[in-house]
Every structure is written in structure tokens, then in C-alpha cells.
Amino acid sequence: MALLEIQDLHVEVAGKEILRGISLDVEAGKVHAIMGPNGSGKSTLSHVLAGRSGYDVTGGSVRYDGSDLLQMNADERARKGVFLAFQYPVEIPGVTTTTFLRQALNAGRRERGEPELDAMEFVKVIRRKTKELGITDDLLKRPVNVGFSGGEKKRNEILQMAILEPRLAVLDETDSGLDIDALKVVSDGINAQRSDDRGVLLITHYQRLLDYVVPDRVHVLAQGCIVKSGGKELALELEKSGYAEFLDAAAA
């Protein structure tokens, strides 16, 4: 049984079908990349997996760790280990990242029947994680994403992931808007978090992220369908020939 099993998933937004029958298994320990042009349904897929409202699932199923994921609320999914790194992380003025993360971590710990961490214990967790990832903790004292640069926002997402230790991480265009140095930091952060019991779904437009985070499988999403799957070499192929042929294939 794979960690995530998506079967023939159909999703509509405001009456328009965006995902038109997607099937995909993500096993624990593996990194799957989903590549596709703008408007192919990449972000819709990430939002549906995370449980955002406004998306109508009209067919198919999604199982996570053996349970029906679509029956769970967004917060329940998160507490059970589904993490979404946002393409556009949201600002929460007046709330420090530390406070936000501690509350998030404790919500998950409560769900698992573990004792909550107090402020001091939480600081220790942060120290350990930032050291492991080689990420500085300067962002943690600032209000969540407020006034952060694009690179800082993405770095913060990866740090949040490290602290929440999800079982399934969906990274939505985590490489977008990053310069090469920031891309390197973020990629290193992702690589450091690859582990045998964690499945990762990397959603990206560009191949360049995959130079740093080498996936086990690559899927091409076009017009709401997965039109081709392959090994890491598929990404290089795409880089050369572009998405044009897949768009034709999907339209046919």
C-alpha cells in the first residue's frame, strides 16, 4: 500500500473541470515530481490534497495511509501529517513565526496523544532543526511571512516542514521566484528531509529544481491529465523539447 493513492481523480472549480482523471501513487521514501505548464492543474491538485474549500471532487478517490483523505477537514489532514508548502505563503501580522509554529506542532502532538511542548522545549527543537538544515533561525522572531522576501518565504516553508515532520509533503512551486543561491538553500533543506518514511510530491514548472532535488519519478501533467510518467531523465527531456507535444497529446 502506497502512502498516497490517487485514483481517477476528477475535480471541478466553479463548474469547470480542472483535473480530468488523475491516478498516482506516492510511496513512503520516494520523491515524485509533477511537472506541467501553467494552467495544467498543478496547484489545483496541491490544494485538493490539502483540503482547501472551493474545489468539487466529482469523481475518483484519494487514500492517505489507508484512510479516505477526502473525508477529512484541512486541519485534520495537517495534524495527520499532510503538509503543503505554499506557492504564495500567507502573511499573519502580529503573530511571530515561533508562536505560530509551536501552536501548529502542539496541535499535531495533541492529535497523536503526545504531550505539548512548552516554550523552552520548543526552542530546543528549533535549535536542533536549524542546525540539521543549516538554516538560520532569524525568521522565527518575525511575524509570519510579514515583509519577507520571496526567498525568505520559501525558506520559512521548508523550516516549517522540518519542524512539523510531515509524512507526506506537497511542495507547490517551491522554486518559483528564487534566485540561484536561494534555490540552493531551499533544495538542500528539502534533501535533508528526505527519509524512508516520508513521501514527497514536488510540483514545479521548471526542471532546474530537479537538478538539486533529484526525483525518483517524474510525471507530466497537461490539461488536467497525467500524460506521461518516467524516471528522472524525463525531466531533462522536457527541458529540451518543452511542453508543446504533451499539450497536443492531451488535447487529442
Binding site: 486541519d75 500567507v90 499573519i92 503573530v95 501548529a104
Partner: protein, 482 residues
Amino acid sequence: MAMETKTVEELATGEAYKYGFVTDIEMERAPKGLSEDTVRFISAKKEEPDWLLEWRLRAFRMWKTMAEPTWAKVTYPPIDYQDAYYFAAPKTKEGPKSLDEVDPELLATYEKLGIPLQEQEMLAGVAVDAVFDSVSVATTYKKKLEEMGIVFCAMSEAVQKYPDLVRQYLGSVVPYSDNFFATLNSAVFSDGTFVFVPKGVRCPMELSTYFRINAAQTGQFERTLIVAEAGSYVSYLEGCTAPMRDENQLHAAVVELVTLDDAEIKYSTVQNWYPGDAEGKGGIYNFVTKRGACRGRNSKILWTQVETGSAITWKYPSCILQGEGSVGEFYSVAITNNRQQADTGTKMIHIGKGTSSRIIAKGISAGRADSTYRGLVRIQPKAEGARNYTQCDSLLIGDQCGAHTVPYIESRNPTANVEHEATTSKISEDQLFYCLQRGLSEEEAVSLIVNGFCREVLQTLPMEFAVEAQKLVGISLEGSVG
């Protein structure tokens, strides 16, 4: 006239308001209704000197000629002032001399409210005066404060022990003729807190009064007076709760603050009177007059209020900046949910040269509630170089609530600098989803976002109470989303 309230605990389970219980205790009350006899009864009960009775009677006669104000953006059915009790006190033979003599039922009540009055169990560094309905039932740490010359006691006790001080300052900031509710208070006020900090003394602990309305059909009219002599400092906090009842109850308090040269008073309020049920039945009418006079040079008054309770809040803690270089600050969080209404703000009256004021007001509306910021900044002709900065932010939750901002600015001196900023926003769906995706429930998410919105104000609270206030912010908004 003694009567027994036979109410058993009616703690409604599953309700957000956890202070809604009733204490079963024998009460003594004034006859129902309001007349000169009522005023005389209260004054006699307190064994007051003649001048105070005269003052009360002047206020009462004046009140009879006054009309209830209607300019606030609140609506409520007419109040029948004859259909209420104006004095209710737990029955005791004599006033308690020490904590050991306080009725155990009362101690248990405060224990339940999270305000233990036994000194050994008390919050370190906080002295408490507990006011139950119309009287003060206990004051802690009195001895220790007395050694420093600080007076912290019930108003009725101060009238007996420090008549000259009381006479000098009572009504000197809020005169008995001030406004309908303050005048009513002047006639029938029953107790409250008196604080006097002598010259050059820095009060080493937070002083706190905990107001509790218990008796049914009873108004609470307390009067607080704080005087800080030259170079002194005191931080004072009041908290309030009341049982859940279907009727509306009137709370018309008056607070007067006086600071002399270089003195500072920090006055914080966490107001959590019963707000009424989700349909707007019951709840406290909180019609309060609070005003501070910065009489001395470089003196300072800082108001912080967290207003989460009451069916209706009508309250404008103000500063009269007389002393040269004096400073007034007002930090406010007003949360209204369900059918609550709040019309609150401040007045900063700049009289002296180089006076400055700062107003940070955060209004949060949810459900079908209405919240209004109403503020006045007045620069008098002699207030050379006066400065004011005002920031009003409103946050709306849902689409059936309202937020209104009514700032009045009157500048009569061309050298003055007055700034006003205002924003209105909603909790965005993006923010909520971001929090949910990290595992927070919807209620936790709203509480976190709102606490962030209020942070600037909550930070000004004494640390011991900031945590409580943060929790209260979350609880007040329960059921506001989803």
C-alpha cells in the same frame, strides 16, 4: 430588608461564558427603586459624613433633570430606573477585618473566578481588592503597601480613614454633574477602590480590583479614585465578570485618575461582563465614565482596555493633559460577537504646552455585532507644539457585522501636529487556510489571527494578565466562523 437569594448554581454547560454562575449568599439590599431615600439609605449604610451625603443628593437632584444620552451608536429598550436595586451587599454583622473573617462562600467564588484571595496562594506581586456587588469584600497585601505609605482600600473605608484626601479629589476629574450616568453614579455609588501613592513612591506591585456582579436586578455603581503624587508610579488593573441572567443589568462606574508632576498611572481593564446569549438576551449594560487628569508637568496616564464582554459598552477613557509636557496614551481592544454592541474610544484634551497623546484602537466585530470607535482629539489654544497620533484598525469576521470609526479632531493651535490613520480589514480565507493547513482548528486560527491583530495593545498589559487576555480574545470569538 435582608433577603435571601435562593439561586443555586446555574452554570450553563457548553456555553463559552465560564463565569456565569451565581453565588448563593444572604444579601442585604436597599428597597427597590431610586429616590432620595435610596441615596440616604446607602449613605447611612456607609456611615458617611454629611458633606458626602450632600454631594450625593446634589447629584441625585441634578440627575432627575437630565436625559439619557442618545448620541452613541447603540440601541436598547428604555431602562426603567425604578425597577432595580441600587444597593446589595453580602450580609455580615460588621465589615471583615481580615481575610479570615470573609465569608468562605465569597472566598470560594473568587477562587472559582481564578482570583484566589488567600495571600499565600496569590499571584506573586499583585494586590487585589475584591468588590462583590456593592461592596468591597477583601483587600490583600494591605499591610505591606501601608508600610510604603501607599493607600489601597475600599472607597467606603477611605471615606472613613482618609476623608480629607477623598474630599479633595472625589469629583475633581469627573464632577457629579458630568453626564447622565456619571451623575447617577455620584448619587448611588456604593463602593469601589481608592488608591493613593505618595510623593516619589514607586508602587512595587500591580494593584488590582476584581468586580463581580452577583445579585439579580441589581445595578453596580462603583467609584474608583487613584491619586499619584509627584514622581510616583502605580499600575492598576481591573477585571469584571457577572452571572448569566436573562435580564439586562446596569453597570455605571466612574473612574478618576490624578497625576501630579512626573507621576505616572497605568490603568488596565480586562472587561468580561456577561455579554448576553447568542440572540442578544440578557447581558450587562456597561455605561462607564473614566477620565484622568494629568495635572503635573511631564505626568503620564496610560489607559489599556480589553473589552470583550457586556451586551452594550459605552465607554471613553480620557485624558486631560493640563501639565506641560504631559502624556496621555490609550490602547484599546474591543471585541463584539453575536448581538453585542460597543461604542468606545477616548478623548485627549490637550491644554498644556508640549503635551502629547497616542491612541491605538483595535475593533473586532463578528456575528451580528456592531463596533464603533468614537474619539476626540482637542488641541486648546495654549497647547503649543502638542502632538497626537491616532491609529484605528477594524477587523471584520463574517458579513453581518459592522465596524464604524468616528474620529473628531479639533485643533485650535497651529503649531500642533495631529495624525490619524484608520484601516478596515477582514480575516482572509488565505490566512485561515494557511493556519488550518498547519493543523490549527478554525477556532484556534481565528484566535491566533485576532491576537496578532491586537498584539500592539495586549503588549501594554501587565505580564500577569496578558496571557489571560489572549485566551479571552479567543474565547470571545468562539462560534464566529464556520
